[in-house]
């Protein structure tokens, strides 16, 4: 078969790029352009940009003031607030704005007669250590704050010596200390983010990123996987001392009440059976005990998640395009967190609202 002439290849290249553009715009997660927010000294999603999520869930979220998502009208409410800190679980790109835990909390609180607004500050990849360093810069942005809620899915965020490049790290040696690294966004993201988002170039951008991330192995096999060094196991007493150091430091960053809301990875399907036990239970128990010693409340969402599945048969995680019980919180999961935090607030209503 003779090959097509050059003009057909040139036309084909143009048309195929149009296909890439359309497929990327329809089926890829949008790239989020970021801009430096001088009020808090960090890069955050540019206010007004809409993010579409396709890889998990099928949702649209909009960045508002200071890059915060799901703010009604894009503006921070003026009154007293409950701030939800966290990572991609709070950022919640998988769920439409109205279903985010902070927005559900606001609606439920208003319905309960509480003049409180929920605000979510979640950035994918962030952890408690990042939040610790952000509490002070955000103090004037969020004021007045009634309660800081740290939504924690990975309990090992509290453990020392877990490498987390581009984020806060907790190191145990020589003396316990915290390190903060803010180099989250690559230069290409900062340079091309606006262009990629405004021209809907998610498809070509994905190709470029894959090309740049190519990892060639030309040597003969077998390939040996790189062994990841596991964090050194700590003696219980030493672990308690390290956790005390971390929580004392966290406690000292803000005068408002602090609450750690742990969202364990349950219930989940494994081997055809629904498992209800928390795989991180020992670490969670240690963190809970440390929280109690250091004036930080601890809320375990495990019982809510378990009873929700037992009553409805549904899971708090998983979407139409991701397995039930896996991945990020779905709309049910966000509502369960919001309800649990609201219960916590109502039980301590006088103490919290008297401030």
């Amino acid at each position: 078969m003779s090959p097509p002439p050059l003009r057909h290849w040139l036309l084909g290249l143009v048309l195929s790029l149009a296909v890439v553009w359309a497929a990327g715009a329809l089926f890829l997660d949008t790239v989020q352009p970021v801009a430096r927010d001088p009020a808090v000294g960090r890069f955050m999603p540019e206010p007004g940009t809409v993010m579409r999520q396709r890889s998990e869930g099928w949702a649209r979220t909009t960045a508002g003031e200071h890059g915060l998502r799901s703010l009604p009208g894009g503006r921070l409410p003026p009154g007293p607030k409950v701030v939800f800190w966290g990572d991609s679980y709070v950022e919640a790109l998988q769920v439409d704005d109205a279903g985010h835990m902070d927005q559900v909390f606001t609606r439920l609180a208003r319905r309960a007669g509480l003049d409180l607004a929920g605000v979510g500050l979640g950035v994918s990849g962030d952890g408690v250590l990042d939040d610790l360093f952000r509490l002070r810069p955000y103090a004037s942005v969020f004021a007045p704050v009634v309660l800081h809620v740290f939504v924690v899915a990975e309990i090992d965020e509290f453990l020392p010596d877990v490498p987390h490049p581009g984020h806060g790290e907790f190191r145990s040696a020589p003396e316990p200390h915290l390190v903060f690294d803010t180099a989250v966004y690559g230069t290409s993201h900062l340079r091309f983010g606006h262009l990629v988002r405004s021209l809907e170039l998610a498809g070509p951008y994905r190709i470029l990123r894959k090309a740049l991330a190519l990892d060639l192995r030309l040597a003969p096999g077998p390939a040996r996987p790189e062994a990841q060094p596991a964090p050194a196991a700590q003696e219980p007493e030493r672990q308690a001392r390290l956790l005390d150091f971390l929580l004392t430091t966290l406690r000292s960053q803000a005068p408002e009440p602090l609450l750690v809301a742990h969202i364990p990875y349950l219930p989940r399907l494994r081997g055809g059976v629904v498992h209800d036990e928390d795989p991180d239970a020992p670490a969670a128990a240690a963190v809970r005990a440390a929280c109690q010693r250091n004036g930080v409340d601890f809320l375990d969402l495990g019982p809510e998640f378990r009873s929700f599945r037992q009553v409805t048969g549904r899971f708090p995680r998983g979407f139409l395009n991701s397995p039930p019980g896996q991945g990020h919180l779905n709309q049910d999961g966000h509502r369960l967190v919001a309800e649990a935090v609201l219960r916590y607030v109502r039980e301590r209503r006088d103490a919290l609202l008297a401030r």
Binding site: G12, L13, L15, S16, V19, V20, L216, G313, N321
Partner: protein, 454 residues
């Protein structure tokens, strides 16, 4: 070295350039051997001596066959060569099954890449020389070139010595037409494998891994998804292998011809993994007596051939069951055809036959995919009464729609348009789009070709 890795594309580009610049088929065969050895060593250098040693053994046995005196000596030599090849395959493929049966045993063996396919191809050489269809090669490089031919090294198609060796003897530099035609097949295979099959595989793994927890609709969707996954994975691989062969200037046998368009089990096996089913027909079924020794013996031969086909896929009972089910299906179809005779299908009977055959093939994939018989049982039970959890990934419907549309186009006589054969101005646009989409939507992580494990 998976075909979609950049390392492979670099190897292919270097091979094509070297073939283009080299003079004469002999030097091109040496280049192909070097490329094949690198292709194999990239996977595991430790098994390279095995590959070369087995090829040299084939060469020596074939030379011995050519020089042997009487038929008894030839037969003994042929059987010895066959025993060496099959013994090697059996050792690596099945020793684990028996060793693992010992209590407390943790022994395990790595199956050398593509050993099954190389063995079958080598047997065609030995059998060809033994039967006098092929001349024994005096030059060991000829046999080494057959054994290390990298487009088919990992998972076929099972290329016969009589198909490949004559082409290698006159191997010319690749032409622009070869390159385009090969690229056309390669791009189609890449899309099938990376975009559709691998994504279906994620869904299938979740439902099979939790057999019995998902409801009947989800389990039916997973059974359907696996039928699509294995077809698109293996036919995608075969498209790439045939395409790479074509780029090198060689014509390799086809492996698939729209198998889910089949209306009976016999037709299914004429369309599914065609190089294997033809090999089994010629080297197992016919030597057993084929259909020449009465009905009972014919049925027994069919059943035995399909059981061997099942066992070839793996040493588990699930593969025995799969092969046995297909053997039974073929036997029943043969009996039915003997009773009712050959006849043209009406539209309705054609549709019913197609639906029945597709359902049969789809259900047979359940034991094939299951890790063991209890898992297969749980999946089959869940088809009728599953658990409380429901999840059907919308991508399953998209993949089903695409596959149905492709089959429909073929049924309407538009196969050339579908396969972008002939002069079509939009072919480059379609092919480049398939490549870009494969880059963008390739599932994360390493997902080897399903048939590379057999």
């Amino acid at each position: 070295m998976p075909f979609w890795r950049v390392e492979f594309l670099l190897l292919l580009a270097a091979s094509l350039l070297a073939l283009r610049l080299s003079r004469g088929p002999a030097s091109r065969r040496v280049l192909l051997i070097l490329a094949g050895l690198y292709f194999y060593a990239w996977w595991d250098l430790r098994f390279l001596p095995l590959l070369i040693g087995a090829a040299l053994l084939d060469w020596a046995v074939a030379l011995g066959l050519a020089r042997a005196g009487g038929p008894g000596q030839r037969r003994a030599l042929f059987l010895a060569g066959l025993a060496c090849r099959l013994g090697l395959l059996a050792f690596f493929k099945y020793a684990d099954f028996f060793l693992a049966a010992a209590p407390g045993s943790s022994a395990w063996l790595i199956l050398p890449l593509g050993l099954s396919f190389q063995t079958f191809s080598a047997i065609t050489y030995l059998a060809g020389v033994y039967a006098g269809r092929l001349a024994a090669r005096a030059n060991p490089l000829d046999v080494l070139c057959l054994a290390t031919f990298f487009p088919t090294l990992a998972a076929g198609p099972i290329v016969r010595a009589e198909e490949l060796l004559p082409q290698l003897d006159v191997l010319a530099a690749p032409t622009a037409g070869d390159l385009y035609d090969g690229f056309r097949r390669f791009a189609m295979g890449l899309f099938k494998k990376l975009v559709i099959a691998d994504r279906l595989g994620l869904y299938v793994a979740e439902i099979y891994g939790n057999a019995g927890a998902y409801d009947a609709a989800s389990t039916w969707a997973a059974a359907l998804a696996y039928a699509l996954q294995i077809y698109l994975d293996f036919s995608g691989y075969s498209d790439m292998a045939v395409g790479v062969g074509r780029m090198l200037g060689l014509r390799l046998p086809e492996n698939f011809d729209f198998p889910y368009a089949a209306r009976n089990p016999a037709e299914f096996w004429r369309r599914w993994h065609m190089s294997l089913s033809a090999w089994i027909r010629d080297y197992v079924y016919i030597p057993l007596g084929g259909s020449r020794q009465g009905r009972a013996r014919t049925l027994a031969n069919i059943l035995l051939a399909m059981l061997l086909c099942g066992v070839w896929h793996g040493s588990g009972w699930t593969f025995v069951l799969w092969g046995g089910l297909h053997g039974l299906g073929l036997c029943l179809h043969r009996l039915w055809r003997e009773r009712s005779g050959r006849h043209e299908h009406s539209t309705l009977s054609g549709l019913l036959s197609w639906a029945g055959c597709t359902l049969f093939a789809g259900l047979c994939w359940i034991p094939f995919r299951a890790e063991d018989l209890p898992q297969a049982r749980r999946i089959i039970a869940a088809l009728f009464q599953g658990g409380p959890t429901h999840w059907v990934h919308p991508f399953v419907w998209a993949a089903l729609g695409l596959t149905l549309a492709a089959h429909l186009l073929r049924a309407l006589g538009r196969e050339d348009a579908l396969m972008l054969r002939g002069k079509r101005w939009y072919a480059p646009a379609a092919l480049l789009s398939l490549v870009w989409l494969a880059v963008i939507f390739a599932a994360e992580g390493f997902t080897p070709f399903l048939y590379a494990q057999f």
